[in-house]
């Protein structure tokens, strides 16, 4: 009887044992703690791709022309990361030439951003924490186990709290446009080490249903439909979005954002928008017939989609690029409250 009672006590103690309290460092957040959601799978429950394999454009058999890809162009080489794979893994830790980045993609906010994996002077990899802030991916770095906000580009919890993420430029466009521009590029392979139904979108009608969000946002800005795709430009504290719908007819926009003059070029049909600091360009005439070349300014400087000038007096230089990436409108309206909309 005594042994039975002791056993009973042990059972209750075991069952009622609480979860760990955590250190002071792990309980401090730069964002409202109550707005961080547990998405369900747990840390690394959505596995990142840590040993990416690449194939040639001609070997790709799992993409349709209108499927989106995130592209990185660096030192004359190009790599594409299809959304069809990113939807299932959200982070690809890659080494490309002499740079190392994590291609982070959040399916719920539609935002793809390449983060420098050298943080605080040390190389790390990023994983999917399983947490969401305003429906946006929260990566964690494996070296310090700190949590980051993708759209705030900031470490918000852990020993690196307050550290800003450095980024590399990316280009989001369709597979059709990408392979036309870069037929010799490398494409992330489905050989990720995981069996997944790549090509089947895992969130049902989420992409097109403007009323459907998985979790409530802290700010709801209805100036545009929530799932309208826009380019968000973050220029040293001055921010603005440019809707893809603006470019139903391909066009060039000259705009002033903060202290900089920008040149924004887009085409809805080719499904891209890019933004650069105008620099020394003198006007610009759009010509998309020779993509990735976008056209030429009045001085004969030919500009490519990744910001290089490949012809003319400024040949060999490249335009500076503010931080910019495509995403759903609601994400920018939430994370950058009051953000300007170019009209």
């Amino acid at each position: 009887m005594r042994l039975f009672k002791l056993s009973l006590l042990l059972v209750f103690v075991t069952i009622f044992s609480c979860s760990k309290k955590g250190t002071t460092a792990t309980r401090k957040w730069l964002i409202p703690e109550g707005q961080v959601r547990d998405g369900g799978p747990g840390k690394d429950g959505i596995p990142s791709v840590d040993n990416p394999q690449f194939i040639a454009v001609g070997e790709v058999d799992f993409l349709q022309d209108d499927d989106l890809v995130e592209g990185v162009v660096y030192k004359g080489k190009q790599r594409a990361y299809p959304h069809a794979i990113l939807d299932w893994h959200e982070i690809v830790n890659d080494d490309f030439d002499d740079i190392s980045y994590a291609l982070t993609y959040c399916p719920l906010t539609g935002t793809g951003i390449a983060w420098d994996r050298v943080v605080d002077g040390q190389l790390t990899t990023f994983g999917v924490s399983g947490k969401l802030y305003n429906n946006n991916l929260m990566p964690y770095d494996r070296r310090t186990d700190s949590y980051w906000s993708q759209l705030k580009l900031l470490c918000v919890n852990g020993t690196l709290i307050g550290t800003e993420a450095a980024t590399f430029p990316t280009i989001e466009t369709t597979w059709k446009t990408w392979k036309k521009m870069y037929p010799n590029s490398e494409v992330l392979s489905k050989n990720t080490g995981y069996s997944r139904n790549y090509g089947v979108y895992p969130y049902g009608g989420y992409k097109t249903d403007n009323d459907y969000l998985l979790f409530p946002n802290s700010i709801n800005d209805d100036r545009l439909p929530s799932k309208e795709r826009v380019l968000g430009v973050l220029n040293k504290g001055a921010n603005r979005v440019y809707s893809l719908n603006l470019f139903a007819t391909p066009k060039v926009i000259f705009d002033t954002l903060g202290d900089d003059e920008l040149i924004v070029i887009g085409s809805q049909a080719d499904n891209f928008i890019v933004a650069f600091r105008k620099g020394d360009l003198d006007g610009f005439t759009l010509d998309l017939s020779q993509l990735p070349v976008l056209g030429m300014d009045n001085a004969g400087n030919a500009l490519t989609i990744d910001g290089r000038i490949v012809e003319g007096p400024l040949s060999g230089t490249r335009l500076e690029q503010p931080i910019s990436f495509m995403g759903y409108w609601f994400a920018f309206g939430t994370f950058y409250a009051g953000i300007g909309i170019y009209e």
């Binding site: 009887m1 039975f4 009973l8 059972v11 069952i15 009622f16 044992s17 609480c18 979860s19 760990k20 309290k21 955590g22 792990t26 309980r27 957040w29 703690e33 109550g34 961080v36 959601r37 547990d38 998405g39 369900g40 799978p41 747990g42 840390k43 690394d44 429950g45 959505i46 596995p47 994983g127 947490k131 494996r142 949590y147 919890n157 080490g193 995981y194 069996s195 997944r196 139904n197 089947v200 895992p202 969130y203 049902g204 989420y206 249903d209 009323d211 459907y212 969000l213 998985l214 979790f215 409530p216």
Partner: protein, 328 residues
């Protein structure tokens, strides 16, 4: 009334079968496998106290009806259920079920665990004979949100609804069952039942002050089941092996009023067990349940195996015969 110390705990199998792909498992109190209340006391009323333990391994990654490999997640649910039945007479019986729940979520980088009291369920059952060896059993009940649903991880973030011991909602359950003893051959018993659970929405998940938070609703659930057991007598013990089949449907969960992706679906499960009754006052049962087919909405992790044991103690057993139906 003689009360012997054994709180025969019914370990309730917290069925973690409805599992979402990005947010997994259904939490809250297990109900649907613990409905039946035996009413085989010939005269007078009596109490039965039970304890069930069940371990639910959720390790199978399924995309619609295709199994996928290399899932980095492992989920498990352990449930310890205290069940107290009051059998008033041959027609009326009442039951209270209180679970203690342990939910665990493990990946290669982290293991998270939440435990605590789950929701309380109160049931009433009416039995009506349909013949000498057949009876109809109708049950209705409600699940009361007394369980803990504010468990956090070590960074202070509320765990997802499926990781919480409780649900925060009033839910309702109903069941109709037909029990047939000496079915086709002597000592063979069949129980066929249809059950339904209606879940309400928690409008303030994650907010203990119930002013904010988010709206979450577990999908409703329907089960059609049939099972058989056969009575042997070995050294004066009643031994009843049993087997059956269970078809389960769960509607998708809802987040903020919208259908949550990767939740809901259809399952077919095979439960197998064996029950021992050494005397009128005691019953033991061991069981295992295998999922043999599923067709799920989207990508989900789901149960690959469930094992359980039950102990039940009948107070004042002299007033009742041992249950030959094996359904207690």
């Amino acid at each position: 009334m003689r009360l012997i110390v054994y709180f025969s705990f019914y370990l309730i199998v917290l069925r973690c079968g409805n599992v979402q792909g990005q947010t997994c498992c259904s939490g809250g109190a297990p109900l649907m496998t613990s409905f039946d209340i035996g009413t085989n006391g010939p005269d007078g009323s009596y109490l039965a106290i039970g304890l069930d333990y069940e371990y639910n391994s959720v390790n199978k990654l399924v995309d619609n009806n295709r199994r996928l490999e290399n899932d980095p997640r492992h989920r498990s649910g352990q449930n310890l259920l205290l069940k107290i039945d009051y059998i008033h007479d041959a027609h009326w019986a009442f039951s209270g079920l209180l679970p203690m729940v342990i939910q665990q979520r493990t990946t290669f980088s982290e293991s998270e665990r939440a435990s605590g009291i789950g929701d309380l369920t109160l049931l009433g059952q009416y039995s009506k004979p349909l013949g000498s060896d057949m009876s109809l059993r109708l049950s209705l009940g409600a699940k009361l949100p007394v369980g803990n649903r504010f468990r956090r991880d070590d960074r202070g973030i509320f765990l997802s609804p499926d990781m919480q011991p409780g649900t925060g909602t009033f839910d309702f359950v109903g069941r109709a069952a037909v029990l047939r003893q000496h079915f086709i051959i002597p000592n063979l018993t069949n129980l066929t039942a249809v059950s339904y659970r209606y879940n309400t929405t928690n409008p303030h998940f994650g907010d203990p002050q119930r002013q904010g938070g988010r709206r979450f609703k577990f999908g409703n659930e329907a089960i059609l089941s049939t099972s058989f057991n056969y009575l042997f007598v070995l050294n004066a013990w009643f031994v009843l092996p049993d087997a059956g089949v269970r078809f389960r449907y769960a509607s998708p969960n809802e987040e903020e009023g919208s259908r949550a992706p990767n939740s809901g679906g259809y399952w077919m499960l095979i439960p197998v067990g064996v029950q021992f009754q050494p005397n009128e006052g005691l019953m033991f049962r061991a069981s295992v349940e295998f999922p043999v087919w599923e067709d799920l909405a989207g990508l989900q992790i789901t149960t690959d195996l469930k094992v359980g044991v039950q102990i039940r103690y009948f107070l004042e057993p002299g007033t009742r015969d041992r249950d030959r139906s094996g359904i207690d």
